[in-house]
Symmetry: C2
Subunit: 183 residues, 2 copies
């Protein structure tokens, strides 16, 4: 049984700790504070995940005992942890899974800023643009061909929603690439 790959959640946690060492409680607050906080990990998900990362040798703990207070456990990435995180951040965009991975890609984009050279960020955006283009044209083709055969009008309207939002993502990626190229 070879080591299974890290969960998305584990990768995100690891990334947040590479960015800056924090306690479990800090991480929880960060999730809460983030606008559009789509995911709110429970204690029962967070603490075990940190232990798993520790068992793999990707994190280590610094126990801070300050006066009276219950000890804070501040988690730091190890060298191996940094390496695993860097590899994750650098993964190319999988065209077939762009739609479901969009949220993750955005997180990776944020974490890239400090981890990889700007030329590679641009390459990432190019990959994202290409993937979104083919996804969107695929949806439009489907709408054009199968659209009329769908029962009722709502299915086609819902499809339109997908096209519009992914077009918006695409426009974002294009303008972001332009902005990053300008400097």
């Amino acid at each position: 049984m070879t080591e299974r790959p890290l969960t998305d959640f584990e990768q995100v946690l690891l990334g947040m700790l590479v960015d800056e060492p924090r306690s479990g409680y800090d991480l929880k607050k960060l999730f809460t504070a983030t606008p559009a906080a789509v995911y709110q990990p429970s204690a029962g998900a967070l603490y075990p995940a940190l232990r798993r990362l520790q068992r793999r040798g990707l994190l280590c703990v610094e126990v801070t005992v300050s006066a009276g207070r219950r000890g804070r456990r501040v988690w730091h990435p190890t060298e191996a942890g940094r390496a695993v995180h860097l590899e994750w951040v650098r993964q190319p965009v999988e065209p077939d899974a762009v739609a479901s991975d969009l949220g993750l890609h955005l997180m990776r984009f944020v974490m890239m800023e400090r981890q990889v050279p700007i030329a590679e960020v641009r390459r990432f955006l190019v990959g994202l643009i290409e993937a979104l283009e083919s996804f969107v044209t695929g949806m439009e083709d489907f709408a054009a061909s199968a659209g009329e055969k769908l029962p009722g009008r709502h299915p086609l309207l819902a499809l339109r929603h997908g096209v519009l939002t992914h077009r918006a993502s695409l426009e974002w990626a294009r303008s972001t690439l332009a902005e990053l190229a300008e400097r």
Copy 2:
């Protein structure tokens, strides 16, 4: 221990069967065939979920034994199943969870077409519009106030992505409401 509410997945399955009775295999293919098929349920998720719905009295099976073939099990909704589904479809939009529930809302919108009068569909869209408006302005306020204090430029750029895509959802909801009002 009172009956726990149905999972989103269970609700979607139930809805697909209210729309039309199908076998587990049919359901699986439907998920695969749908463009933007973000979710691909495994057999290990699908078949047990159908059994759970059966145990609750929301589904019943029709065993079709056609020549030679392995018997198909076609699932039908019961009266209770239809009622539970209708209640789900009719639920108002929860403004605080509008971002994470968007996909579900779209599914509900599609299923509404045959289940509820058009006046109620319009009310649903109005609720969705209001929720998205406040969500988007909330994000914009956050970007305006906290935006400058964020470390680096990528976090603000990512925030912009959220604003753009949710604005696109909002525009979709508005134009869809207009289209439904025109008749």
